[in-house]
Symmetry: C2
Subunit: 489 residues, 2 copies
């Protein structure tokens, strides 16, 4: 409750997006900068949002047969180097441990940039027979990648909280189904809980995970028109099972190399929630993941304080016993106005104001965080009304975000329009593409926009049946697909 928090958000989301974002992160008490450059600290409020996301995902993973496990953060260099393409992709940003106490280590140890190599060297010991498959393991941990670019909390930091899933299957098909199952779990989390619509599809070969056969992705649009990758799910084929010798004896009594997947989402999702739903007053949290869904502020003077506080407590316990996450702010040392600002900045979806008059009239005042609408409701329908309002907020946030996404997609048919849309409007630019990496690279170089996603055929929002595939937006030769280009975080 230090003075910087009392100040409120001073930057406007519409005119100074980057400064606005930083202020929300710091002033809503989500995160803070750590002493080592490029690192952040998650404060309790920010961590509780991560706990919400983690618990939601964790139960979905477990319900689909995944198990959690733990791997050390240190990986011997020789192991990391075992899959060359993968190693080359990560080495520029690897932190290296070279000393323990005063001793120099005989082999450098990498801080986990991701755990494929470490996990697979161990999986190869665990898997010998078809009976050991599928192996579906998830790790809740952090990844470390030394960032040279400027840090943005949740979006770009040198250490980040995430989960990384690693599965091993007997067949290519089964691995493919796993890739899609996870993408579906991610999409449900991101849409149904975080209220953020995404475009799903493939990454181009240039943008896929180093070492993967292919990468599927979920891409969202932020309020400033830049795209954000929300999560990825990779089919690794046998690219790792061969160097790491993950083999199994099949029912056919023959040895086979296994098929693998890996996938992850990170606390970047919190960054997306801030950017998509936040407003000039601060954070706006979707009820499904809000650590506090309803804050109750008793409004009292000294003489009626006990009665009003008691009423606040009874409202709180009624909601709590119905599974609603409630916080009662009955502190004496802050004014009601200060509390309203504080909880608005922290994005609590619904506020209940309760004073003596409300008690007399058996009414409750609700204030929605998203629309600021106030309504007076009868106290006898407390739980019903609260549930209905939380549902409305959840639905409304997704609806608005969906409309913004639709408006952010521009189909272009010539390269001049492409460039102009990138510059003037931003968002996703939908264009035909020949599939050649040269075109992709030159477009990126000239406009800063790269291919975010090649939508699955049935997932291209803009696709109309009668629409013919135009020539490549850049080189004019025959196209393979539509792709969504954007400048991105």
């Amino acid at each position: 409750m230090s003075s910087d928090k009392e100040a409120g958000i001073t930057a406007k989301k519409s005119s100074d997006f980057s400064e606005w974002y930083t202020q929300v992160v710091l002033k809503a008490g989500l995160a803070d900068y750590a002493p080592a450059k490029g690192f952040i600290v998650l404060r309790p409020y920010g961590y509780s949002i991560w706990e919400s996301i983690r618990d939601t995902l964790d139960s979905k993973f477990k319900a689909t047969g995944h198990q959690n496990a733990f791997l050390p953060v240190l990986i011997p260099e020789s192991l990391l180097a075992k899959e060359e393409e993968h190693f080359a992709g990560f080495t520029p940003e690897v932190f290296w441990v070279t000393k323990a106490g005063e001793r120099d280590l005989s082999e450098k140890l990498a801080l986990r940039p991701t755990s494929e190599t470490l996990a697979y060297s161990i999986f190869s010991k665990w898997i010998t027979s078809y009976r050991d498959l599928p192996l579906k393991i998830n790790f809740w941990n952090t990844a470390l990648r030394a960032e040279i670019k400027a840090t943005k909390p949740f979006i770009r930091t040198s250490e980040f909280l995430w989960q990384e899933g690693h599965t091993v299957h007997a067949t290519e098909d089964e691995a493919e189904r796993e890739v899609m199952l996870i993408l579906e779990i991610y999409q449900r989390l991101i849409e149904d809980y975080l209220g953020i619509p995404t475009i799903t599809g493939f990454k181009s070969d240039k943008e896929k995970f180093v070492g993967a056969k292919y990468t599927t992705t979920l891409e969202a649009i932020m309020a400033d028109g830049k795209a954000l990758q929300m999560g990825t799910s990779h089919h690794l084929g046998q690219n790792f099972s061969k160097p790491f010798e993950i083999k199994y004896l099949g029912k056919d009594t023959q040895e086979h190399f296994a098929w693998q997947t890996s996938w992850g989402v990170s606390w970047r999702l919190i960054g997306a929630v801030i950017m998509v739903h936040g407003d000039d007053k601060g954070l706006v949290l979707p009820p499904m993941i809000a650590p506090v869904q309803v804050v109750i502020v008793p409004i009292f003077r000294e003489k009626d304080a006990p009665v009003v506080k008691q009423r606040a407590a009874s409202i709180g316990s009624e909601l709590r016993s119905n599974g609603i996450r409630v916080h009662i702010d009955d502190r004496d040392e802050y004014t009601s106005g200060w509390k309203f600002n504080e909880w608005e900045m922290k994005g609590v979806p619904l506020r209940i104001n309760i004073g003596s008059r409300d008690i007399e009239k058996n009414q409750i005042e609700f204030v929605r965080r998203d629309t600021k609408e106030k309504s007076l409701e009868t106290a006898s329908k407390l739980v019903e009304t609260t549930r209905a309002l939380l549902d409305k907020i959840q639905i409304s946030l997704l609806k608005n975000a969906r409309q913004f996404l639709q408006e952010s997609i521009t189909t272009v048919t010539d390269y001049e329009s492409f460039k102009s849309v990138v510059e003037r409007k931003g968002g996703f630019i939908r264009a035909a593409w020949c599939g050649r990496q040269e075109c992709e690279e030159e477009i990126k170089e000239q406009t800063g926009a790269d291919i975010r996603v090649i939508p699955f055929a049935n997932n291209d929002h803009e696709h109309r049946k009668e629409e013919a595939l135009l020539p490549c937006i850049y080189c004019g030769s025959k196209s393979k697909t539509y792709a969504y280009f954007a400048r991105a975080y």
Copy 2:
């Protein structure tokens, strides 16, 4: 399910404790060695026990007003060095990051051996007023300490899962109450959930946490007669608040340095469960923390397989809907005998065998893991019987462990007996001590036993009212207290 697991435990707990322990860890599928020396991997079964412990503790922490947060793993050297005594205690075992990619870092970064220094440099920014206190934060993370001695999974590894709590208070008294509150939470977890009795008290100044004013501890005895420190809760006084400038403006409008505590338990608790309750067949898990409390093994031939499997499923769902954690092992590719051995090795507290005859007779066969007792019970009382048996097992494990602890405490009145008990019997040696570090050090040097705990006055199991305090067991001068000595892990 690879062949090493089929082999079963071949070492005896009574005659080859260390080898027995390692076999249980590896063959029950709890953990495995990682490629980097001194590190281990937690397999899903081991991790699920950690999840049980974590969830139990986490809800106790939250119920007493603690919140979780996140700190990076890397700490700049300058920060770690800010409290000199603390720094000197940890530097020999610190892993240092000196490079990122190809670049040499301008300042070395330590991998967190513990987070006091990092947390407090940040707390000092968050705390300005009495209104910001108390601050009670917990971190679920790992600590890294380069171990030179031989590794023992869960007991001594270079990285370990733990929680570290850090609290800041306005007064010394309040910090003192926090230290004791946490010790009580730990004791409840360890006794009521893990079934392990402990002796609580103070560490000697020699053994206390580096930088603490004093350290309280919980000490348990393992089956080989060696003591194990189960957890510690430290009063830090103002030893960190002064160098880190954690100050608050009091109601008296004066600035004050704050009072602090820190405390932690680690996955070492899993090691204790193995050592205390395990037997020659493998692990024995207390029902309260067993990830699987009841395993159901349907016993069938090809012709009655569908009926028996269906019955197993219906028993499973009845138990599950009553909140009991159940696993049904209806795999076709393993025999019942193989499954019995497997689940005994994994320590599942209760097994239900179900075959056609049991279905006909409306009966269920229960097998207790701890005593191996079998009983036939009527199927109509399935849930009641299961609950009663799980309770019995939980109580029985603690009772046996308590008896063993009592038998492991030997009060000695002369130094010759002291040495002889250390050599021949082990366990805790209760002896009078003058309080001087020289005696403590010389005893340690000569016998390998150090002071594990100086029991709180009302917590000295052996203390009789009429007992006079004898002279110091080593130097013969006037004693200050009884202390519990032991060789320890």
